[in-house]
């Protein structure tokens, strides 16, 4: 690994991300993988227990705090981290930041996993999940309910546009897998790309709607949400937080993966992402502070209580993270940039978590702390997402890499693992030369 702290005044051509390449040469099953698997299995068993025993025995939820971390962390916070398909996608497709297309597959995958795991847990968190079938009848929806908006929009988004957007890497793998599949795959691809504008547009409209409605959820709670958080702008602030957090998640995860699996980092793309993220962060912080100022809630930030503490922690993390990102544009230090992403996303997570939990005051005596089972299930569903991520990046072309990675991968499989049939990604024509040969013969 070329050191993480060295300066990169100029971009070397060989580091340029040209192509998504599967992670090869690392075993899929290792200690970390098995640990995650164990957590998932534990969560599944506990989920079975929850379905029989009800929510009370397994969670710390009570009459005052009707929502626990399953909703407030796994859905509210993690889908914000998983809005990459929305935020990075809009930057790439609508605002034509072309280099960001290199990050799109990572964004789509992380989004899909975050949403899928969040929705699964949402189904477990619902007390009467069998009644979800009402979702099929639009005339039974309560169109003005933010929660209906969130539940319906999220399910449709994750199951249709987001899932469809994730199909190309799968088709690509089939294309390389066996040359006999190619005509069929190409036919499907052609059809897929013809509906893509409609799919992609839906994939930006729907998350825009439900990420803001997640904020609108707590509007109805009125004064029980601390004035530092309760504002008519809650929806916009939630959406804004999702934007910069998801940039942090996508770019940060990509950097982490490059570090772990020893890949070159394209500072041109990462700088682009860091620049957008820092703009988003400063814009968001400005809106948040102005809103607090104009509502006259600023004084409550100087009370000596937990709310002020949470507020300043959040502001400090987001602000410092944004500043680090801004600095990293000048210094080109990867470490600084990565830390900037981590801190700003952590601050954003605290923000998204607060209105429902940390800053929610149903009554003075009320307390909520998640029960052990609740935490284990929550962790299990996060592990499920990470597990899915590990499988996907090692089997599909997701992670961006310099061009030479593709060739060395092909060589690796040709010469060192010729017996692995199912990784036959590269069996046929990684250079595309087979078509030529077939045409000649």
């Amino acid at each position: 690994m070329s050191g993480t702290t060295t300066n990169f005044p100029t971009q070397t051509a060989s580091e340029r991300w040209e192509r998504a390449v599967p992670v090869y040469g690392f075993p899929l099953v290792n200690g970390f993988f098995l640990g995650l698997l164990a957590l998932v299995v534990i969560a599944m068993v506990l989920t079975g227990y929850r379905e029989l025993a009800g929510l009370g025995p397994v969670s710390g939820m009570n009459d005052a705090y009707g929502w626990g971390i399953w909703k407030t962390f796994n859905v509210m916070v993690l889908t914000a981290l998983g809005s990459g398909a929305f935020a990075v996608g809009i930057a790439a497709w609508v605002f034509r930041r072309k280099r960001l297309h290199a990050l799109m597959r990572m964004a789509l995958l992380t989004s899909f996993l975050a949403y899928a795991c969040g929705l699964l847990l949402l189904g477990i968190d619902a007390g009467r999940p069998w009644n979800f079938y009402w979702m099929v009848f639009p005339w039974k929806w309560n169109m003005h309910s933010p929660l209906a908006e969130v539940a319906i929009c999220m399910s449709i988004y994750a199951m249709l546009p987001l899932a469809i957007e994730n199909i190309p890497p799968v088709l690509e793998r089939l294309w390389y897998f066996d040359s006999r599949l190619r005509p069929g795959v190409e036919k499907i691809e052609k059809r897929l790309y013809s509906i893509f504008p409609y799919v992609i547009a839906a994939a930006y409209l729907l998350p825009g709607m439900h990420q803001s409605s997640l904020g609108a959820l707590m509007l109805l709670a009125g004064e029980r949400v601390h004035p530092l958080w309760q504002t008519p702008w809650l929806s916009i602030l939630y959406l804004g937080a999702a934007c910069f957090m998801s940039f942090g998640c996508v770019a940060g995860t990509t950097m982490l993966c490059c570090l772990i699996w020893k890949r070159g980092m394209d500072m041109e793309v990462l700088d682009d992402a860091a620049q957008i993220t820092s703009y988003l962060i400063f814009g968001w912080m400005g809106l948040r502070l102005l809103d607090i100022l104009f509502r006259g809630a600023l004084l409550t930030a100087f009370h000596l209580d937990r709310f002020a503490g949470v507020f300043w922690l959040e502001m400090l993390l987001v602000g410092f993270g944004g500043w680090l990102l801004w600095q990293s544009l000048k210094t080109h230090q990867k470490r600084q940039m990565f830390l900037g992403y981590v801190l700003s996303s952590a601050g954003g997570m605290i923000y998204r978590f607060s209105p429902t939990t940390l800053a929610f005051r149903p009554n003075p005596e009320a307390l909520y702390f998640p029960a052990t089972i609740e935490i284990l299930v929550s962790l299990g569903f996060i592990s499920l997402g990470v597990l899915g991520f590990l499988i996907a990046v090692k089997r599909f072309a997701i992670l961006p890499a310099p061009l030479h990675e593709w060739h060395s991968m092909a060589n690796y499989f040709r010469f060192r693992r010729p017996y692995i049939r199912w990784t036959g990604y590269f069996k046929y024509g990684h250079f595309g030369e087979d078509e030529v040969e077939e045409a000649n013969s």
Partner: protein
């Protein structure tokens, strides 16, 4: 002359953009935001100065609803500590630490004219009856999301935490008794007439009569629920401040009308989202074409299959 696609799109946009903006911004003009009182609104009038705290209504409520007595306190008496999954109605005591001015309070669903629970309920499991105005719960529609326990400003609906088939419990004025011509359980047993049942307008007149008869007796000479939170169908009279009894001062406007104004306007007839979608499709269609072209050029250069 045939209309080209471009002309069609720009034409639609020219009409659509102003139309969508008008429906969104001017929604208040199109749809009155005043809350209608149901035609046959029934309700309760609770006079805290008359209540002696005998809790007969608590037992009668449990009986009328066929719920088991909550004896979890001392496993002998029916003494629920608060509203819970078997208690729809409760008598509480407000007693300040220093001296006099104590008051009982009966807590049950307020049957708001614009209920926040029903405004948030995703599939209309909590639904306000358009005639009687009773806010009822339909088990077949409830997904158990517990949003009602968060939105209700009076903190009334309670979720059953144990069991695989949880229910939401709240006062429904025993609508099946009303159909038979009976009164709700609580009002049929009250020995002092502290809680009475009747049509909302009648109850309002009665409450105002009581205030007129003894001015200064009641807090602010005001009926809680006449206008509070947009108006409720359970009305309260009290000698101590309503806030002390757990009835927050919410203002004249209902909670959903106040907080969801822009949310509601944005989704009015789905006009603005539809417009946004159409615009996005146009932009992305154009950009996708360019992106595909670039990818294929790159494919020719490198000899590697394009990754879109």
């Amino acid at each position: 002359m045939a209309i080209t696609r471009r002309e069609l799109i720009t034409g639609v946009a020219k009409v659509g953009v102003p139309a969508a903006v008008v429906t969104t911004v001017g929604a208040s003009a199109l749809q009155t935001e005043t809350i209608p009182v149901p035609s046959a609104a029934v309700g309760l009038l609770y006079d805290a100065t008359k209540c002696i705290g005998c809790k007969a209504c608590v037992a009668a409520c449990a009986e009328a609803n066929d719920t088991p007595p909550d004896t979890r306190g001392d496993s002998l008496h029916q003494a629920p500590s608060d509203l819970n999954e078997v208690t729809r109605n409760i008598i509480k005591l407000y007693k300040p630490e220093h001296g006099s001015g104590f008051s009982f309070v009966k807590r049950q669903c307020m049957h708001c004219l614009d209920p926040a629970c029903a405004a948030g309920c995703p599939f209309q499991a909590l639904h306000k009856d358009p005639e009687s105005g009773i806010v009822g719960w339909t088990p077949e529609k409830c997904i158990g999301c517990r949003y009602c326990t968060i939105t209700c400003p009076y903190h009334i609906p309670r979720f059953q935490w144990a069991g695989f088939n949880p229910r939401v419990t709240k006062c429904e004025l025993r609508s099946h008794r009303l159909e038979k011509g009976l009164k709700p359980g609580c009002t049929s047993v009250c020995p002092t007439g502290a809680v009475i049942f009747g049509p909302r307008p009648v109850l309002l007149i009665e409450a105002k009569r009581r205030i007129q008869e003894s001015p200064g007796k009641y807090y602010q000479d005001r009926v809680y629920g006449e206008n509070d939170n947009g108006g409720t169908q359970s009305l309260y009279l009290s000698a101590v401040p309503f806030e002390k009894l757990g009835l927050p001062e919410l203002g004249m406007e209902s909670v959903p009308a106040r907080t969801l104004r822009w949310q509601r306007r944005f989704y009015q007839y789905f006009a603005l989202p539809a417009l946004l979608y159409a615009g996005l499709v146009q932009v992305i269609r154009k950009n996708l074409k360019g992106h595909e072209q670039e990818a294929h050029e790159h494919e020719k250069q490198t000899g590697l299959r394009a990754q879109l």
